[in-house]
Amino acid sequence: MIDEDTTEARALFTRLMGEEPPMTLTSKTLLRKAHRATRRSATVTGVAATVVAVVGVTMLARSGTAPEPTMALASGEPAPAPEVSFPTVDTPWCIPGAPDCPFVTDDRSNRLSRNVNAAIGSILPKGMTVEPLPRNTDLGQREPFLFGQHDGRYYGSARTSDSAGHGSVSINLGTQSVRGSCDTSPFQLPKNAISVFRPTGCTEQTLKDGTVAVVSTYITRDSTWNLIVVDAKKPDGTTVQLVSNNNTAIKFTGQPATIPTRHDPPLSKDDLLKLVQLPALKY
């Protein structure tokens, strides 16, 4: 049954449309454009893969050379640490499982979403909330974490907030190797994002549950974007990379999508070490 509102609105819309111009779009032209886009996409992917491979080989080659000795400045201060390209988080920038999204959902991702959402509250500091990233909220995500699988690893991220401002935490989980120590392993080659960060510290520790964790901190050149990164290998073989940052969203380009609202990431190093030990983070 059509109600009065619908009838009235339709009358308005029909008046608004007036004379409809002829359609120039046809299925034939659309198909031609679709095929051209597919070919172009394949070409771009090929070129991008080549560029990534070249950059990767260069980085790996550089990581294999002896480290340069620390230079002393005239003032006696040590030279600043070299800047590195750091793999920023491969955050689902879409709803995992949606047709256009490269992140797919499966039983494991569903289990991770369920368990992490249920457990995350136990490690949050008092006054801190966790919710979906704003962009994903717009797309219909309701739970803080919605894990998606891409290239065999599982990714989930959420916004963290307290009275001081916003930030985010991202979880990247799988069984592939992660950075095992502060000084021997090269940084993993970024897949989607390269941003220049300056390392500001690194520690290695074995946690109570046997997890081996490497905690690194980074800051951008303009000192506005801070990251705390935990690369961990759990006793059951699950490898986890956690990133807490003071920016509420990160685009695939690696550039901050918003201006940081606070200096420190909402989740501290200690919070991340509690998070990584949660049984919910299991491959």
Partner: protein
């Protein structure tokens, strides 16, 4: 032509015009509406084999998101050009479609989308909520506010 292309061509022939009307109501310009439909259908083609059921629902969602995303870009940000009801109202335009167009343009993009999907596409509130990614209550309030604003701005009689 592959089976997929044939199915897609049938879909385009059947629904492109309807999608363009919806796009026009969302953006207010026939040329941009056709561009939005083209972008939408290219995305639908890319995902064709992964779509289950009718692709029309997915097309509506892609189209709506495309128009809303576009309206957020700063050079596209909309500025109401029509006096609000509580402002001094000048005599209405003699061309009622221009009047209506201004009224539609004054609605926020998501509110406009809610009104169009609910009343033009005649979608159930739950479907509109899914497309817009919000609660059903939000859709109801957006539709009521949007329709009331349209009524007020085109000087129609407001029903109790």
């Amino acid at each position: 032509m592959s089976d997929r292309d044939m199915e897609f061509a049938d879909f385009v022939d059947a629904y492109a015009a309807s999608l363009r009307r919806t796009a026009f109501l969302l953006c207010g310009d026939w040329h941009r509406a056709e561009d939005f439909v083209q972008v939408t259908l290219l995305k639908v083609h890319k995902s064709w084999t992964r779509l289950s059921g009718t692709p029309l629902g997915y097309s509506r969602q892609v189209l709506t998101n495309a128009v809303i995303d576009e309206s957020r870009r700063f050079w596209r940000r909309e500025h109401p050009t029509y006096p609000m009801p509580d402002a001094e109202i000048s005599p209405p335009d003699t061309d009622s479609s221009v009047d209506l167009r201004r009224a539609m343009a004054a609605l926020p993009a998501r509110q406009r989308a809610a009104v169009v999907l609910r009343y033009w596409e005649d979608l159930p509130i739950a479907d509109v909520a899914r497309i817009l990614g919000c609660a059903e209550g939000t859709v109801k309030s957006q539709c009521a506010k949007g329709l009331a604003a349209l009524r007020a701005m085109v000087n129609l009689e407001v029903k109790p």
